[in-house]
Amino acid sequence: MTAVRLSGVDMVFNPGTGQEVKALAGIDLAVGQGEFVSLIGPSGCGKSTMLRLIGDLISPTVGAVAVNGKTPSAARIDRDYGMVFQSATLLEWRKIRANVELPLEIMETDKGERRERAEAMLELVGLADFADHYPWQLSGGMQQRVSIARALAFEPSILLMDEPFGALDEMTRERMQAELLRIWSETRTTVVFVTHSIPEAVFLSNRVVIMSPRPGRITRAVDIDLPQPRNRETREDQRFFELLTSVRDGLRAVEDM
């Protein structure tokens, strides 16, 4: 079954004004249930716009978006989405535990279950000991892990992640990628992941979608046939390097356009 389907989607911002921007044109994309898909492409090619369309934060100018067989807004009201942004976006007046509980509070989960879920999620991202800290007492990478725990807390069927590891150093980043894959294999969520990093996209994904700018289009999709589970050895695999090269070639082609 498809989790996300975009058909013939155009996105035009400020249509009919001097500031008209054609952000996306003729987008067709289907993401299967439980699939991990990365979007990669030069800055301004509409990756964030695509995530926001799927997540019902904006609506397409032309075309249709379907999520789990529903409209995006029905999916949002059914709480199908877990969002992770580039910045952790934690509420600074809430302790870590309360930040993870936030979506559960909004969904009116009862208190005992809320607490249990939050504890389990913090365990999952390795921050159980920091439940009673405030966000500013945590490093950037730890904060980002909290925001992942928060997104997973209510078991959304789709994770939308917009450059979540963009601000991290290389080592933390690789550790976070491994953790994300572990979580993904344990929860079997569908993930749409935006990144600028080729190795990150190849390491994480089932499929890497390459986009070109002005207007944003999908130019190519590369299937990543690396075996699961992926780990440190994966990054030294001959096939890993071949796939890096083919994604890089795809991006070069975009830049030469």
């Binding site: 949002r76 877990g82 969002m83 942004f85 910045s87 509420l91 600074e92 509070e105 909004i106 405030y134």
Partner: protein, 296 residues
């Protein structure tokens, strides 16, 4: 030394400087005969006992009967201050609620903001001296106690900074935080109480401090047209008309009136320390900018 200790010390230090300046100026005027030393240019303010009593005379005045055979001036003034504070407190509470409510309304409806904000700003340019008697006359038909009418006058001044800063505070969360709430399909009420209102607290408290002083001023001024005999307003008016005969009494009532304001603001600051974590507190300097921005 603790932060609290340093604050007290700084306060006392500045107080000492004020006293020294006052007495130094007075001493200079008295020894040089009312002119700048070595010149024949007159001092801007006379330094005789009728214009500038000694600081200790002002303090002594507090501990002498206000009128022959009556209570000490200090008790008279403190009673008046307490009486005025009742109106100021009610006005502060009422004004803050109205201000907060307006902020919430404006953040929800840009149309309401565009339509009403000019009136909110204009309300503060109308002199309170003109509004107060009108309110008193209007309330005359209703059987509202007069100190409550004074509270309404005080609320009229207090609501403004709270409305402006509440609005600014409710708008302070970054776009991604609002989008996060949207992605959870949170109701407008949940967005208000779980995101916007907590984010507004650091903006709200500086405004509440301004509102506290405005409420005191509003109550003192409001007592005059309401012809309240028991408050600070009447006391100040009385001592002002007797200024040339007994100047120390007017200065003493100024001292007590500002003490009232300081205690009030101090209470709000205490609440701020209890409610807003240190890492979220704003620089006090940000508030005037917010108010200026909104009135511009």
């Amino acid at each position: 030394m603790s932060a609290g200790g340093r604050r007290v010390l700084a306060f006392l230090g500045i107080l000492t400087v004020f006293v020294l300046l006052w007495e130094g100026y007075k001493w200079m005027g008295v020894t040089a005969g009312g002119v700048w030393p070595g010149t024949s240019i007159e001092l801007p303010v006379r330094t005789n006992e009728r214009s500038m009593p000694h600081v200790w005379d002002i303090l002594f005045a507090l501990f002498r009967p206000a009128r022959r055979g009556g209570d000490l001036l200090l008790w008279v003034l403190l009673r008046a201050a307490l009486f005025t504070w009742r109106s100021a407190l009610l006005g502060f509470a009422f004004g803050s609620l109205v201000g907060f409510g307006l902020g919430v309304m404006f953040v929800r409806s840009p149309l309401a903001e565009r339509g009403l904000m000019p009136y909110v700003v204009a309300s503060q340019t109308v002199p309170i001296l003109a509004i107060a008697p009108i309110l008193v006359v209007w309330a005359g038909r209703l059987s509202v106690p007069r100190w409550v009418v004074v509270a309404v006058i005080s609320a009229y001044l207090a609501f403004f900074p709270v409305a402006i800063n509440t609005l600014r505070g409710l708008r302070s969360p970054q776009a991604e935080a609002s989008e996060l709430m949207t992605s959870y399909a949170a109701s407008p009420r949940q967005v208000l109480w779980k995101l916007q209102a907590p984010a507004a607290l650091p903006y709200l408290f500086p405004a509440l401090k301004i509102a506290a002083t405005a409420a005191v001023i509003g109550a003192i001024v409001g007592e005059l047209p309401a012809s309240m005999p028991d408050g600070l307003g009447r006391a100040i008016l009385n001592f002002a008309s007797a200024f040339s005969a007994a100047p120390a009494k007017l200065f003493a009532s100024i001292l007590v009136a500002s003490l009232l304001g300081i205690v009030f603001v101090g209470a709000v600051a205490g609440a701020e320390r209890a409610v807003v974590p240190q890492s979220m507190r704003l620089d006090a300097a940000e508030t005037p900018a917010a108010v200026q921005e909104a009135t511009a």
